[in-house]
Point group: C2
Chain length 475, copies 2
Amino acid sequence: MATAKNRGGFALERTTISQIFADQEQFGGQTVTVCGWARTIRDMKTFGFIELNDGSCFRNLQIVMDANVLGNYKEIAGQNVGAALIVTGTVVLTPEAKQPLEVKADTIVVEGPSTPDYPLQKKRHSVEYLRTIAHLRPRTNLFSAAFRVRSVAAHAIHTFFQDRGFVYVHTPIITASDCEGAGEMFRVTTLDMENLPKKDDGTVDYSQDFFGKSANLTVSGQLNAENFAMAFGNVYTFGPTFRAEKSNTTRHAAEFWMIEPEMAFCDLAGDMDVAEAMIKHIINTVMEKCPDEMNFFNSFVDKGLKERLEHVASSDFGRVTYTEAVELLKQNNDKFDYKVEWGCDLQTEHERYLTEQIFKKPVFVTDYPREIKAFYMRLNDDGKTVAAADCLVPGIGEIIGGSQREERLDVLEARIKELGMNPEDYWWYLDLRRYGGCKHAGFGLGFERMVMYLTGIGNIRDVLPHPRTVGNADF
Amino acid sequence: MATAKNRGGFALERTTISQIFADQEQFGGQTVTVCGWARTIRDMKTFGFIELNDGSCFRNLQIVMDANVLGNYKEIAGQNVGAALIVTGTVVLTPEAKQPLEVKADTIVVEGPSTPDYPLQKKRHSVEYLRTIAHLRPRTNLFSAAFRVRSVAAHAIHTFFQDRGFVYVHTPIITASDCEGAGEMFRVTTLDMENLPKKDDGTVDYSQDFFGKSANLTVSGQLNAENFAMAFGNVYTFGPTFRAEKSNTTRHAAEFWMIEPEMAFCDLAGDMDVAEAMIKHIINTVMEKCPDEMNFFNSFVDKGLKERLEHVASSDFGRVTYTEAVELLKQNNDKFDYKVEWGCDLQTEHERYLTEQIFKKPVFVTDYPREIKAFYMRLNDDGKTVAAADCLVPGIGEIIGGSQREERLDVLEARIKELGMNPEDYWWYLDLRRYGGCKHAGFGLGFERMVMYLTGIGNIRDVLPHPRTVGNADF
């Protein structure tokens, strides 16, 4: 049988810098081919140094180039920062030097040159400027570290749930129902905007739209996750969610990723147990797998980062009822712009005061007044509060919102009607209570807030690969 | 410090059926509490049997109930299928019976009853009917198995790439550019549809839309993935993508998930190596972790499934150029509705004939005519073909589309202009070739097609938790 000729399989022949650093003794004295980009090039006329980064790890590899060895020394020494190079040479262990090893180059090939006006020169750039070159910023130390931590944290979350038998469910992104009534939604349509079909009464005829009805981008996969928890017991989602809020803050994006576990036969205490174990697992995994990145953040972004995370990973989270929290906060009302009283929604200033000043660690606030929480949360016996639990963390405020769900059909139906919603819109959600309903609970973790918490980065735009915010969908 | 009272932490006290089957010897003679849903209830008056499923695994657990032991025997025996039960009892090993063990109940509590008209009665239902109750169908054997395989396959993909040092990138879902020009896109908007803002010329004024311009749902994360590969070397995406095509087939959905790896310093042969290794890894993982599910599919959905998958996992994929494939197919032109000739796009009938009849295993077809492939694919030296590689598999046809990307700035710019596109729209994509460009390659795997391939399920609607297709966005 005919076979396409093999072109060299480059991907499998090169050695990554990460491999070399991970197995230094084995690579010492060996010849390797490494492929990467020049971060700096220092030309001392007869010899020189290149700091090469190949993206496989945070660290650069020092390449030593010798004019007596390299026939194209001048070409290489004259390259601009950012050039893509293919280096073949010998790994030399340098136990007495700052870096543990270097590569003495036998050959260096310019795979792709750069230019003198390469935007990432050696000087430090502001994050604001780097956002305008979001296609290049992953090549800087800050963003290289941030997006590697993001990737490792994402996989830590998958592994946490998969190891515990949770089923990963891809809940739908496009939805025809505003399930939570949570904020503004984006419309999804294929109607011809220049020539919208109209009904007899002059309003837009969505029956002619792609889905035969009005459709939006999801704000939460929770109701669908509940559906699957009633079959699989323990499930989780991990996908994008959307809010069309025009708030231009450091903590809000129009498009962000959420993790939403949902557990059958689980109450609010079990819900908090899972959330706490998950956060500790994420922290421990990132600290273990990204030591260079975490040291960088600790040195250049947030001096107290590692100590704080280690403290969180090793201590029990606080648990306090909303009613108790309000009493604690009222004693400090002189410090707040918005004064606290029972019944009010907690503002970020209150949440941060609770977790940073009073508890000095993450804390769950439970049992909020029903009026300020969603319709699906389980009504407590006091008739006034619901079995909700928000997790607040120092430096961020709310990072998790969770609750036990109302499993009692009559109570849930009454609440839906009380809020002026139509029970028929929730027919399948109510069915879950009709056919083998059970106590169940879940929560939502905002993934970007978790990455901000892990890295100390203060702006959500800097932990999203290509952030979407009001007025911005570039790249 | 005040602490919310612990409510019992139900999630962590129950034993899952999966745990009991996994560690039978240890559980034999032990008292356990299991929580699940009754699949069948057989009442023999003084004793009876319940098949309980808790979603932790494919198998049911047999519960034995004895009227002399259970004070509420009549209540339990009278429950309807689908009821949620909490059973405490003793695990009894039954080596001589069909099932390896059962639980003799000491107490059974009805957590949530079901009704006599529960839609999932014991009889077999059509998949068409089950789609109308998509909130209940995960409780059937078929969909329980399908969605568990889906979850395990998703995690196998993450683990495959993470173990190899690939960085997981969340490329944006909302995009202001039609990057591939691949088919119809969904518009994303917050404009008031009943009162659209207009420009002076009477057309819609998208500068007033949320992002300040016209925006759509992504059809591919590839261009953004290339961007990150030029920093991290090896990256992958795994996220939802969208096509607003009104094609109502068994293989197309409006919303589906894609995996798109992208490798720097990698050519087409390396690209195929990664794709082949990934597919084998997914198959091996699912076969190992889901034996009961795979046996079910092999018995009830597709008799040849396991044999075919084992064959694929253990054999080298074929590799054939498009030109060679056309020659092979032309010899069988009498069998095709569309006759094959050089330059034509291969139809599903051709793809399936190649992989099923000629190669009898997965095959990569490489080096397609440039006219039928995307602008970013690398032009071969012949000037006529591009370095593309589609992977075709028996029973499905195309499951992977990949290519080496055009890394030469001048060639890429010329191609963009030749196709009547505006290079300025691709400024940042072209920048990747300006500053340290390098040979690189990647591919896209349609996740639902992979799950169909793994399960033998023939309709994409039955591997998506809540499918979105033309005219349908229910649940």
